[in-house]
């Protein structure tokens, strides 16, 4: 038995725990989930259910039979959250076995290989998503158009996402694709094609603000990502790279509201384990993500780069953690 030195009373515990934080994040994701169930119907329900179930089972089995841990960790809900976030990153009508593979990779490769919660250098849900994106590119980029519960689970009508049109517009300077874009209001409320949980910007912002108010996350990462993306888009407009029919303001808003930006900024990039600890570290982290995502969207092969951007910056976190707050009483050099 380890020897603990006890300090004098009072011993006040804030009641904070991994479980509580995970629960709050799941709670904050619910509005966006409700929105996606309304839009994509059964596909959203089935995909999320499979993803969560397989994530929890994988963590349990690896703990039990590979790591042979006495203490199970599925009770801290982090596997549930990973499963939910992975589902949020998948198109709703995707084959069930792809969801299973993604969930096993997310928990098995992304998290448990490194020793479980707190040791993984990369966001597990994004590891799962990027793995699937490279492994099954065709299925992962087939987006059902939102039709509520009329959306058939399989063989639903599919369409391109707004980012695809934006990319075409930038590449060809062709303004006719602008007609294909959903209106800005539709982008805000989420009536457009895309991954399950990323479409409804409104619900994601509500959830994100809730997390900031509940002090689960700080403002640094989301704000720096959004500001960088907005600035990048604005500079693209000011330097005359947009066709005439697209104003700079509209382009900034489309850049912010489409793709996984809101989901990534509020929920994926702010993952405790894989984001820097200090305030300045977080801001640099956010600026890096915002910059990389716009570079990929503008010049890259993929129409969306949020998951790549977050994973690339995840890799920089050990370096960013060298930025430490000044010790109390330490003199400035």
């Amino acid at each position: 038995m380890a020897h603990f030195i006890t300090s004098p009373a009072p011993h006040v515990h804030s009641g904070d725990s991994v479980r509580r934080n995970m629960l709050l994040v799941i709670l904050a994701l619910l509005p966006a989930y409700v929105a996606s169930v309304i839009e994509f119907g059964w596909g959203a329900l089935i995909t999320a259910a499979i993803s969560i179930l397989v994530c929890v089972c994988t963590e349990y089995l690896i703990n039990r039979y590979v790591l042979k841990e006495q203490r199970q960790t599925i009770g801290d809900l982090s596997a549930v959250l990973t499963g939910l976030l992975l589902a949020f990153n998948l198109p709703s009508g995707i084959d069930w076995w792809i969801v299973v593979i993604g969930a096993v990779v997310a928990i098995g490769v992304g998290k448990m290989t490194f020793g479980g919660l707190g040791q993984n250098p990369f966001n597990p849900a994004l590891v799962g998503r990027v793995f699937l994106l490279i492994a099954y590119p065709a299925q992962m980029t087939t987006w059902p158009t939102p039709q509520g519960f009329d959306t058939k689970y399989i063989d639903a009508e599919t369409g391109a996402t707004p980012l695809y049109y934006l990319k075409q517009m930038l590449a060809t300077g062709d303004s006719s694709v602008i007609d294909q874009l959903p209106s800005l209001a539709d982008s805000f409320w989420g009536v457009m094609g895309g991954s399950l949980g990323e479409v409804c910007a409104f619900a994601l912002i509500i959830g994100g603000l809730f997390l900031i108010c509940a002090r689960v996350i700080t403002w640094h990462i989301p704000v720096s990502i959004i500001a960088t993306v907005a600035l990048f888009a604005a500079v693209t407009g000011w330097t005359g790279h947009l066709p005439e029919a697209m104003t700079t303001g509209d382009y900034v808003l489309y850049s912010l509201l489409s793709g996984g930006l809101m989901l990534g900024a509020f929920f994926m990039a702010t993952d405790y384990v894989t984001s820097p600890m200090s305030a300045w570290g977080k801001i640099i982290f956010g600026v890096g993500i915002g910059f990389i995502v716009m570079v990929i969207r503008t010049w890259g092969n993929y129409p969306e780069g949020m998951s790549f951007a977050i994973l690339i910056m995840n890799a920089c976190v050990p370096l960013l953690n060298k930025i430490r707050p000044q010790r109390f009483g330490e003199k400035k050099k």
Binding site: V109, F131, A135, P137
Partner: protein, 195 residues
């Protein structure tokens, strides 16, 4: 005799170039997209290893110490060129796939490493056995890695369809899959060797 056997098995098990020495990672990761590619790369390296070990062991007393590295490289490059020309002539399909990695055997750490660490100090017979053992170890690792990547990434083993390629995860044929497979394989080998 016992010594000879030890030298031969050393490269296959205890000092396997891929899993124990972690040498020659570039061809290991890049050429194992399928079992056939991995095995061809391994066999090409095996040939170069055996020949260069023998020749360097023969010449070890003639080569001045100061210029030994350039001298070794010239010997190795001779055999690599032979392999390259033979493959280009008789196995053009595999030659096209492996491409640049055949001439790059010249700078493969395993070949130069064995020349420096073993052939320059030991007899011709032992050097030949060492080259053979190391080459077999390398071929074995590359073939296993190639089989796993081909099976997961294309649903085939040595070109034989095992399951529908519809379910195969393309990522295993690409670079990230190489890193993932190698990492897990190395972990498994380390675990087995500890026992």
């Amino acid at each position: 005799m016992n010594n000879a056997l030890k030298t031969l098995t050393n490269g296959i098990l205890k000092e396997n170039p891929t899993f124990a020495l972690v040498l020659g990672m570039c061809p290991t990761l890049a050429t194992t997209t399928s079992a056939v590619n991995g095995m061809s790369m391994g066999l090409a390296t095996l040939f170069v290893l055996v020949c260069s070990n023998v020749v360097i062991s023969l010449l070890k007393n003639l080569i001045p110490d100061k210029v030994r590295i350039p001298a070794f490289i010239v010997v190795i490059a001779t055999f690599v060129t032979m392999v390259q020309l033979v493959m280009q002539a008789y196995l053009p399909g595999i030659y096209d796939v492996l491409g640049l990695f055949i001439p790059l055997i010249v700078v493969n750490c395993i070949v130069l490493g064995r020349a420096e660490a073993f052939a320059a100090k030991n007899t011709v017979g032992l050097s030949a056995l060492d080259g053979l053992g190391m080459g077999l170890g390398f071929t074995l690792s590359l073939t296993v890695l190639g089989i796993i990547r081909e099976f997961l990434g294309a649903g085939t083993v040595f070109g034989l369809q095992i399951y529908s390629s519809h379910f195969a995860a393309l990522i295993f044929v690409l670079a990230p899959g190489a890193f993932i497979c190698l990492a897990y394989l190395m972990a498994a080998v380390n675990k087995l060797q500890k026992k």
